[in-house]
Symmetry: C3
Subunit: 137 residues, 3 copies
């Protein structure tokens, strides 16, 4: 196994395709793996990772709009030190999850044709997000 760090700065709330950033981070190491697994871990509790549609950007806009309906800011949360986006961001992070395992086949991530990895930023303001990637072969 081998690990790679990846730092991504987000411009605030939204869903961002990071498939290329992940493959760039692991570089040539994946090319020699016939069968393996790639684990991607986000070291934060107010953002998340998910796999979804990699082509039409309106899907990511719809995620951004819908998450505010799914976890409404006007719910009487107690934990609001960092503003009205604080606790909703924690809950969204757990609903989508902060880690993914992706299979590797013939030296490449075995994603489906329409699949890409999203970094989901649930805080309103720009954030630095640290990921730890583990290549398991």
């Amino acid at each position: 196994m081998k690990q790679f760090n990846l730092l991504i700065q987000t411009p605030g709330r939204g869903y961002y395709l990071i498939t290329k950033e992940i493959t760039d981070a692991i570089g040539d190491d994946v090319g020699i793996i016939d069968v393996g697994l790639l684990h991607v871990f986000l070291k934060h509790t107010s953002a998340s990772l998910t796999i979804n549609e990699n082509a039409d950007p309106t899907v990511r806009d719809d995620f951004k709009n819908f998450e505010e309906e799914l976890v409404r800011r006007d719910f009487p949360f107690t934990h609001d030190y960092e503003g009205p986006d604080d606790c909703p961001a924690h809950i969204k992070s757990s609903l989508f999850g902060c880690e993914l395992t992706i299979p590797i086949s013939n030296g490449k991530l075995a994603l489906g044709t329409w699949q890409g990895v999203y970094l989901c930023e649930h805080r309103d303001s720009t954030q630095n997000r640290n990921l730890l990637i583990t290549l398991n072969n």
Copy 2:
């Protein structure tokens, strides 16, 4: 590590138990593993995988009914090329997730007594769904 492909045709929206299809796909290879992990990956963005109750089919009916309340079709989604079930299916896919890791103990999947694997079809119409299974030992 070893990989197996599995194709499942769904009859449209609903939750389907596929534990047996998975164990059939991996066949005898799991029987010789004392301790291991099985990774199950669905290569699509409008369906998902989850683990839930394997006995009473009304649980799966309740999931099917409740998902329409959780992600309502009348939300003003932009991405609707393929109909009113299009964007809701993407969001449900990310809420449940498209991949699972299941422990293996003594040559068998170490699921709890009541646990089974569901393939969750979020599109209305029949679909062909491709899974890639990785045996990690």
Copy 3:
């Protein structure tokens, strides 16, 4: 790979930090691993595992309150043999998920500063919950 069993009794519905219970269960075995993965699996369908904020207990209270809004008991569920918390517990279990993979670096779980593992109990009454932990190195 090596596996460890962990039994945790919950006092009923709520979100409980179990990071220490997990590291105690694996003991000294993790200390000798430079790079690895830890898989944590909950063998139940009415509870779940997630990673979230490890410091302020009001976050866990907010999760407990909000889950009742996310999956309302007054939805017309069919599966209610064990009471009004029965089917909501199944659905919450699948939304948060019953398994997690956590990276290991330099002999320790590589969690972010604010990350801890929650055992999420979705049933009202006290329950015994079995976890199976797999150390993958």
